[in-house]
């Protein structure tokens, strides 16, 4: 009997170990696929030039000491500083425009029981799906009519076309979860409808507002086409466009600084996006998943 009693937990543990081994084995190719490019970019960014272009040694590690030269080059010999400033300014203004429009819209659609509110909500969200590739040519005309061609301000005008639909939809979901009783209590205490929105509903919806700001930032930084089509002056470009177009001279690619410039902005965006990914997914799947 004692033997059996000992044997049961052991086989259970063995089973667990085998199960874990199988899962890890299955996941390894996916992990390699997902992580290796990032690793390779990071190694490239801090390798010395002479270490980069060698085929006789294992390329995954350093054969000459790592260097910050590529970052130095970015900040002193290119407009990288300007690009970061442009990207931050664009994202800031886009977030501001998005909040000013999407917060009231999301609130109205979620809580005021307007006729056709659901359909209008879906309608606004659908515009998120009208792709840039259809809109960029007519918007080029809009941008040049506004006299903004070649300036980063043009992107401030254009990016809300996708951040407003997405964030309105997202905020609609958030506002729906705020209990009606809180709002009623505020209005009984003498707040108007507007007062109830500003003093009661908005403060408890801060997570939703923050999420909207995050997505205004990350979605703005994911764009490439609008920037490519509307901005062509070197010091006006946002980072992704600047890195992709200005660090190449003819056929010569400055791989070290290209990777350095790409990662310096890409990694923070990826980390933030990663943290908010579930919100993004539940946003686009209709906020039906808890």
């Amino acid at each position: 009997m004692a033997v059996v009693a000992l044997a049961v937990p052991r086989t259970h543990r063995q089973k667990e170990i085998r199960r874990h081994a199988l899962i890890y084995l299955g996941l390894t190719p996916f992990l390699l696929l997902a992580v290796f490019p990032l690793f390779w970019m990071a190694v490239t960014a801090i390798k010395q030039e002479a270490d980069l272009y060698r085929m006789d040694v294992v390329p995954f590690w350093f054969h000459l000491p790592p260097t910050w030269k590529n970052f130095d080059f970015l900040f002193h010999r290119t407009f990288y500083g300007d690009w970061i400033l442009n990207t931050m300014s664009i994202s800031f203004f886009v977030s501001a425009i998005t909040l000013v429009t999407a917060v009231p819209a999301g609130y109205a659609l979620a809580r005021l029981r307007l006729p056709f509110a659901e359909n209008m909500g879906i309608g606004i969200f659908m515009t998120y799906l009208v792709p840039a590739i259809i809109l960029f040519i007519p918007l080029a005309r809009v941008v040049s009519t506004l006299g903004l061609q070649d300036e980063w301000w043009s992107l401030v005008v254009v990016y809300p076309t996708f951040t407003i639909p997405f964030c309105t939809w997202l905020l609609m979901g958030f506002f729906k979860t705020v209990p009606f009783e809180i709002e009623e209590a505020a209005m009984l205490d003498g707040c108007g409808q507007m007062g109830a929105l500003l003093r009661v509903v908005l403060p408890v919806s801060i997570p939703g507002v923050i999420t909207s700001v995050i997505f205004s930032f990350t979605l703005s930084m994911q764009d490439f086409l609008y920037a490519l089509a509307f901005v062509s002056i070197s010091d006006q470009k946002p980072v992704p466009l600047g890195v992709a177009t200005e660090l190449i001279r003819g056929d010569v690619y400055f791989w070290g600084s290209l990777m350095a410039g790409a990662l310096l902005v890409g990694v923070p965006v990826a980390i933030v996006y990663n943290l908010f990914l579930d919100r993004f997914i539940s946003g686009i799947t209709g906020a039906a998943i808890k």
Partner: protein, 327 residues
């Protein structure tokens, strides 16, 4: 129902009595609580509606107009040319190559993303140690800004210093640099199309897996248990219970992915810009090169509008799924 009328009758100065619904004696229609609420609501809605209407709706209509004009970057005055731009596109062989590549690219990459995403979702849905870390690492391709990761791939596909070729060569799967079987990923027509598809798959498979997982975790475990008790096999449970229950989410996920894949220009633009010899030309790059680079706005707009019928099924599917969900 009390909630409804209380919320409606709560404007300042109005009686809060629950009985106030619709017209109260001596008030004009616009003074009723409901009318005030509507006015307030539509005022709040107006900025977003206006912005989207002016910068998405109007431009869309404007692109229909542009596509029927000979507008170009140089000449501000355009004249109406009817369907000439569409005819010109349909008569050029580049257009058909781009259309074919777009379809191959979207469908091929879609199938691959589906297969990889499903496999990954089944692995990640299991409880195991380190799951959160693994998940965070695996979604990296989707979270990196697209231009950033494409540059990384461009370097990995380098004609001489490709790290992939280095590894393949060390494994003796290919010869050394300069030998005939040394692949030039972005320089050989067939390989180039495969490479750009591969980067799209690389970026999209985590998204597929995450959407699928979100769907699978939303299926109550009791239902799956009940099916097990009834003697349903794993495949039966998957196809008869799980798939129908998560179908709406699957539709939405694949609709999004299709729209983003069809309309994405950055992968092809940065890796090959349509080359070599048009082998990777897709409708977005053709529209960009015609409309902006060559300045033929009308032609470019016409080409990009050819994407619309391709996008439409995805959009309709999404619309129907979302509306059904609201009911």
């Amino acid at each position: 129902m009390a909630r409804v009328s209380a919320g409606g009758g709560a404007s300042p100065g109005t009686s809060l009595s629950v009985a106030v619904r619709g017209h109260a004696r001596g008030q004009s229609w616009y003074q009723t609580p409901t009318a005030r609420r509507y006015l307030f609501g539509y005022t709040l809605l107006a900025p977003a509606m206006l912005y989207v209407g002016l910068l998405v709706g109007l431009p869309f209509l404007f692109s229909l107009y542009l596509a029927m004009s000979d507008a170009s970057v140089g000449s501000p005055v355009a004249s109406f040319v009817g369907l000439e731009n569409f005819r010109a596109a349909l008569e050029s062989s580049t257009f058909y190559v781009a259309l074919r590549n777009t379809l191959v690219f979207t469908i091929g990459a879609g199938i691959l993303k589906g297969l990889l995403g499903t496999t990954l979702a089944f692995l990640l849905i299991q409880p195991f140690k380190g799951r959160k870390v693994v998940r965070a690492l695996i979604v990296i391709p989707f979270t990196l800004p697209i231009a950033v990761s494409v540059l990384g791939w461009k370097w990995m596909f380098d004609s001489q210093f490709s790290v992939l070729n280095w590894a393949l060569s060390r494994l003796h799967l290919i010869g050394g640099y300069g030998s005939p079987d040394w692949p030039i990923w972005l320089g050989q027509p067939g390989l180039a199309l495969l490479s750009v598809m591969f980067v799209n798959v690389w970026r999209g498979f985590p998204f597929g897996a995450i959407v699928l997982m979100a769907g699978m975790t939303s299926v109550p475990p009791e239902i799956i248990e009940a099916a097990k008790v009834d003697g349903a096999s794993f495949m039966q449970r998957f196809s008869k219970v799980i798939v129908p229950m998560i179908a709406p989410i699957l539709f939405i996920g694949s609709a999004f992915d299709t729209v983003f894949t069809l309309s994405d220009l950055s992968i092809v633009y940065l890796l090959t810009n349509g080359g070599p010899d048009g082998a990777t030309e897709i409708l977005p790059t053709l529209a960009y090169n015609t409309g902006i680079k060559a300045g033929a706005l009308g032609r470019g707009a016409a080409i990009s509008l050819f994407l619309f019928p391709l996008l439409l099924p995805a959009i309709v599917l999404l619309l129907r799924t979302l509306r059904r969900r609201q009911l």
